[in-house]
Every structure is written in C-alpha cells, then in structure tokens.
Symmetry: C2
Subunit: 221 residues, 2 copies
C-alpha cells in the first residue's frame, strides 16, 4: 500500500531536529502507513499558550502550509488549540486535522465525565465545544505555563498529581489538551497511575488523519 | 502483523450468511488488519427500532457476547443505539465499541452544525449526548420505520431526499444513525448528492475498534 504523505506543523520553534520530528515519528510508529514531514513556525520558541501567542502563530501557520506542503495527502496542525485549522480547511482540498478537535472527539466517546489537562488558563475551544457539559474539570499543572515548563521534573510530577486529583473527582477519562505532553510521554504514566484512559492529542490527530484518508480511499474504490 | 480478531454483533436476525457478514466484510475492507466474526441475535428479524425491540435485544446481546466471543480482541455492537455496550464494558476487559457512540464522536469533529438521519422517532442516545446543541436536525426518511424499509427503492429515495433537505438547513455534515444504511450503501450517494461528509456508523465502529486496539498495542511496546 502506498504511504500517506502527511505534512505536520509544530507550533513551537525549535532548532533541534529530533524535537522537531518527535510528533511525526510518533505518528509513523502508530500508523505505519504514514510518511510524515514536520515543519515548525519561525521565531516562536515558547509555542502557543495564550491569546497573544495564538494570534502571532496564525499567519505563520498559513504561510508554512502553503509554502512547504504542496503534494501532501493531509495536513496535521499538531496543537490542541487547533490554530488556523478552520482557515486551512477553507483554502485546501485535502484533509486538515487539528490535535484539539481530534482529542476532544475521541474523548467524547469515553463517557459522560471527562477531565481535561492543558497548559492554558482555559480549555482550548474544541474541548469546550465538543465535550460541553461532559467536561467535569479542566486544570493546568501547578507551575506550568508553557510547553518548556512541562519538560521539567517538577512539571511532570505536577501533571501526574493533577491526573490523580481528576480521578478523585470521578472522571471516567482524561483528555490531554497540549501536544507538548507527548514530548515527555507523561500520558502513559498517567494511565498507569489512574487506571483511566488518557487521551493523547498526538495519537488522536494521527488517528483522524487516518480516518479522513482511509474514508476517501475506500470511497474511491 | 498479527490480525485483530473482532467479534461483531448484528442486532437483526438473518438466515442469509451474506447479509449476516456484510458489516464484518466492510470492516475487513476498511481495515485489512481485522479478522471479523459476525453473529446475530436470535428471533428478531425486525432488528432494533424502538424501545420495545431495544429491551428485547439487550439480554440476547449479553448472552451472545459471553457465549460466542471468547478469545476476541474486541467486540463491536453494530447498532447505532449502542445496546448493551455499557453493560458489556463493565463485564469484559477487552474494548467494546458501539456504532452510535463512534459515529457521534466522529461527527462531533466535523463542525458545529451536524444533521442526523436514523430510523427511530428520536435520535439514539449517543447522538443526543455527544452532539448536544450541534445537532441542528434529526430526521427519519418518510415511510421508513425498520431496516427492511430502508432496503426498498422508496426507502433509499426518501433517505437521499432527507439528506438534501438537511443540507438546505445549513448542515456541515450528516451523521447516519442506523447501521442498516450500510446495507444499502446509501451514504456514498448522499455524499455525492450533498457534497457534505456523511458519517457512516459501520466505518466509525471499525475505526474506534482500531483506535482502542492500536492504542493498547502501542502502549505495550
């Protein structure tokens, strides 16, 4: 089977090629039929973590998609805030997938009491919209305001503590609202500690990219 | 890669082996890594289409799952009403997937105005719960009250007419709330006629079975 070519957009600038390719390599391991090309937006090392950083990222994402990703089968915006996803969908005829909408939709299937963990003050738009009244708690790990804070021992410990707290509130599943958590693989520890399904936006963005591509392929047959 | 063994439950009795295996064969074509065993509940040729038929089916589904599906990797209940899904999930340690919750979750990603087409008076529970205020219309094709009505020329024509009407209401996507529509492949015609994504519960039940199994497999590695 020919591989699906996926263009993946990272919304935090990095000069480290391994960190740049991290989400793409995860997707290739989950979905062996994917061949992922990763690019990051320029001049934004702190990523997207509030309204200002979201606004600065938008034009950069649109420029990057149009410049770098011709010939791709799908574009994945690897950020739980789904920046520019709606705009790109209007412009392009290929599937455009956001990490946030994907994780929120997958979490909606997991029960009626879903907790969400992110790094912003409020849950990203897609989680609020899709989970609605099923979102029983949203929280940010103590001391964590950017993706880089997550990558410290303290950030990791506080993320695990928050997951335990959300379980104590009766959550049936935990949805992660920051793709940077995939950088530290904390979702597997959260699952082990809480025994709950922990929904990872990086896995989900790949999953819905596969969904859209496989749907189209089977339609054409 | 070793295939995933899927036990699939049809909620309409049939003696026709091709009709029995229809959803399973579709899943195998969408997901070549699946090997599907299909079984139907006894003495219920009219399927599930109202509260009474739902109540009669429940104990039959539980009995069938425990008797016929030991050694499976996952169980799929191929009905948009998700009958016995919650109960089976409590009893079993393998993933249990309902068609309704799967289609509703996938549709939730498609926009803020989702229309739903089914054969019951009201939309099935998972569509109401997951789509919430995003469900702008629910309808049943004229003259269609059971899966068998759908399989007539009239049933098919009226289902297509309803899809066109829902597009005129501003729907961004149409979610099908009856797996029997896969029997007649009407979703592909709906997509061609409306230009909207039409979310098929049979495709989606396979998709979330793959989601759960692939999640577990990649966790174990």
């Amino acid at each position: 089977m020919e591989k699906y070519r996926i263009g993946l957009i990272r919304v935090a600038t990095t000069e480290d090629p391994d960190l740049l390719a991290l989400h793409g390599r995860l997707l290739e391991s989950y979905f062996p039929c994917f061949q992922v090309t990763s690019r990051c937006i320029p001049d934004q090392h702190e990523g997207i973590h509030d309204d200002g950083s979201m606004a600065r990222a938008l034009p950069k994402i649109l420029a990057l998609a149009s410049k770098e990703f011709s010939g791709m089968d799908a574009i994945v915006v690897s950020c739980a805030g789904d920046p520019a996803v709606r705009e790109l969908r209007k412009e392009l005829s290929i599937p455009v997938i956001g990490a946030g909408e994907s994780a929120a939709a997958a979490a909606a299937r997991c029960g009626e009491k879903i907790a969400v963990i992110g790094i912003t003050d409020e849950a990203p738009e897609a989680y609020l919209r899709i989970l609605g009244g099923s979102m029983i708690h949203y929280g940010r790990p103590e001391g964590v305001a950017t993706v880089r804070d997550l990558m410290t021992e303290e950030g990791r410990k506080n993320a695990l503590g928050l997951a335990r707290y959300q379980k104590s509130l009766g959550a049936e599943a935990i949805a992660i609202a920051c793709t940077g958590m995939a950088n530290i693989h904390v979702q597997e520890e959260m699952e082990a500690e809480t025994g709950l399904p922990v929904i990872d936006p990086v896995f989900c963005e790949g999953f819905f990219a596969f969904f859209e591509l496989q749907r189209r392929r089977t339609r054409l047959n």
